[in-house]
């Protein structure tokens, strides 16, 4: 015979013989990673809304629970860090699929692979930029906040699309008794469980050795956190120093607080100290994840606004003495401004505020990102 020679289809150039590159391993790791990404995304968008509220939301942002932002931003960074070991483990499980042969079967297949490429790229990008941001390390040539925010939506979208595309495989491998799981070699079961336990231990170890920066009780385990609750003047870390803000003792001579409104007035530091003083215990919670509780003493912001003729619905604008900075002018919604816990603080942990913590007066409000706790306040405006 042999009058027609059929060229045999060429096989895949690379094959994998290692174990556990299967759909069950990918499903279990994917569930954990998906959960971490969901928590990270939700808390991240929440933080974005608190920090840059759209106009319609500004007066509706709640000031309670007072520990809310501390919890959500601590979770944002902790879930992101937990995802760092989970992502490479998940990619390892599915790595052979990168060499699928033929590489592209149809237009639909090409689009599917493209969406996976976007998912992987966005996942690596978000974890990498987020981790480096907590260390204030910016090796990239773009602005961190808007880009991290934009790629977060890209990541969530690609993740939803991925779940929709892979749903039959996820469903078939969801539990140990699912049909797809049962079709896999039974001998792989114990090995897979040991691998998953090891990856969870890795994620747990990474989280435990950094989460002390926001869970003060776990401070002794803080080996790799960029902040430590024990380090900082008056028992509290600092983000922006007075030197960085170009505020000096000399520039504060003759300082007066100006309060603008229907009945404007100004006060010296002594006059402020003569007003009713309150003590509150509130955390300073930074967008970079660290947080610590402290005792603050000072005057209620709503008392100051009342005196200037602001009604019970008054909100305010706070202007810092710092020369420049993205948060020099801060707007405070109604619920924050009227909360009795919101102070123009003069003291911290039983001492006069240090210059780096905002002497002579700073804002401390419940459930708000640290950058909005304006330091070196020079002016309040009823708005």
């Amino acid at each position: 015979m042999g009058f027609m020679r059929i060229t045999p289809p060429s096989g895949p150039p690379i094959t994998f013989t290692g174990r556990l590159h299967d759909a069950r391993t990918a499903t279990v790791l994917g569930r954990l990673l998906g959960l971490a990404i969901a928590v990270c995304f939700a808390t991240g968008v929440l933080s974005h809304c608190l920090q840059h509220p759209p106009a319609w939301l500004a007066d509706r942002l709640p000031s309670r629970p007072y520990w809310g932002y501390r919890l959500t931003q601590g979770l944002h960074v902790a879930s992101g860090i937990a995802a760092i070991p989970l992502l490479p483990a998940k990619l390892w499980a599915v790595y052979p699929r990168l060499f699928t042969w033929p590489p592209v079967r149809s237009v639909r297949h090409a689009l599917e692979r493209l969406s996976v490429a976007v998912l992987v790229a966005a996942g690596i990008f978000e974890l990498f930029t987020g981790l480096l941001n907590t260390f204030q390390w910016y090796p990239w040539p773009f602005s961190f906040v808007p880009v991290h925010y934009a790629v977060a939506w890209l990541l969530l979208g690609a993740l939803l699309l991925h779940i929709a595309v892979q749903w039959p495989r996820i469903r078939d491998h969801f539990t140990r008794r699912s049909p797809g799981t049962l079709a896999l070699p039974a001998a792989d079961g114990p090995d897979r469980r040991r691998l998953l336990a090891a990856v969870v231990a890795g994620a747990g170890a990474a989280t435990l050795t950094t989460v002390g920066q926001s869970v003060t009780a776990l401070g002794p385990l803080d080996l790799f956190g960029p902040r430590s609750p024990d380090h900082g003047p008056q028992g509290l870390p600092v983000n922006r120093t007075a030197a960085a803000a170009r505020v000096t003792e000399a520039s504060l001579t003759g300082w007066r607080l100006t309060v603008a409104g229907p009945r404007p007035y100004s006060l010296t530091l002594d006059e402020l100290r003569a007003m009713p003083q309150y003590e509150v215990t509130l955390p300073l919670a930074c967008v970079e994840g660290w947080s610590k509780s402290a005792r603050w003493t000072g005057v209620r912001v709503r008392d100051l606004l009342d005196r200037a003729g602001g009604g019970p619905d008054a909100r305010c604008r706070v202007v810092s003495l710092e020369a420049a900075g993205a948060y020099r002018v801060m707007d405070m919604g109604r619920l924050y401004a009227q909360d009795p816990l919101t102070l123009l603080a003069l003291g911290l942990n039983g001492e006069v505020l240090s210059l780096d913590h905002g002497y002579p007066a700073r804002i401390i409000a419940p459930n708000r990102p640290g950058v909005l706790q304006t330091k070196w306040v020079g002016r309040l405006e009823v708005s």
Binding site: P88, G202, F224, S228
Partner: protein, 138 residues
């Protein structure tokens, strides 16, 4: 089936929204370059490296399974988290940023993983030896 299309459609819509935010950035191609680099570094460098190490170990008769693999995964996870403070160039904004002794802490973490690994392996070897000596008790 309908649910899958709804979820997938939502995913495409959110990707489009994220994409539109990216395009609105100055020089979005720089971001695309960094996005692509992450995939290239992982798929072309890190993943082959891990697989090559496992293959070399297997060829040398070292079984990277069970506790040894777990110890390597935990040590690797801790090392990845420790890399930014270990490698970050330049000064810090103030004394409360990166206040810890990170090289020392990394060594402590690696020592802890090694001790736990060795301790676990040692206990397991003892238990197995005891079990072998009294096969009737099992």
């Amino acid at each position: 089936m309908t649910h899958r299309y709804v979820v997938g459609g939502c995913g495409i819509a959110l990707m489009a929204f994220g994409g539109s935010l990216l395009v609105a950035q100055p020089e979005p191609w720089r971001v695309v370059l960094w996005l692509a680099s992450g995939v290239l570094v992982h798929d072309g460098l890190l993943a082959p490296l891990v697989i090559a190490i496992a293959a070399l170990a297997a060829a040398a008769g070292v079984r990277l399974r069970g506790v040894a693999r777990a110890a390597l995964i935990v040590a690797g996870s801790l090392t990845v988290i420790a890399l930014p403070p270990l490698l970050r160039p330049g000064g810090v904004a103030n004394a409360t940023v990166l206040p810890l002794d990170y090289p020392r802490n990394w060594l402590v973490a690696m020592a802890a993983v090694t001790v736990i690994w060795a301790g676990y392996a040692g206990v397991r070897a003892c238990v197995r030896r005891a079990a072998r000596r009294r096969p009737d008790r099992r």
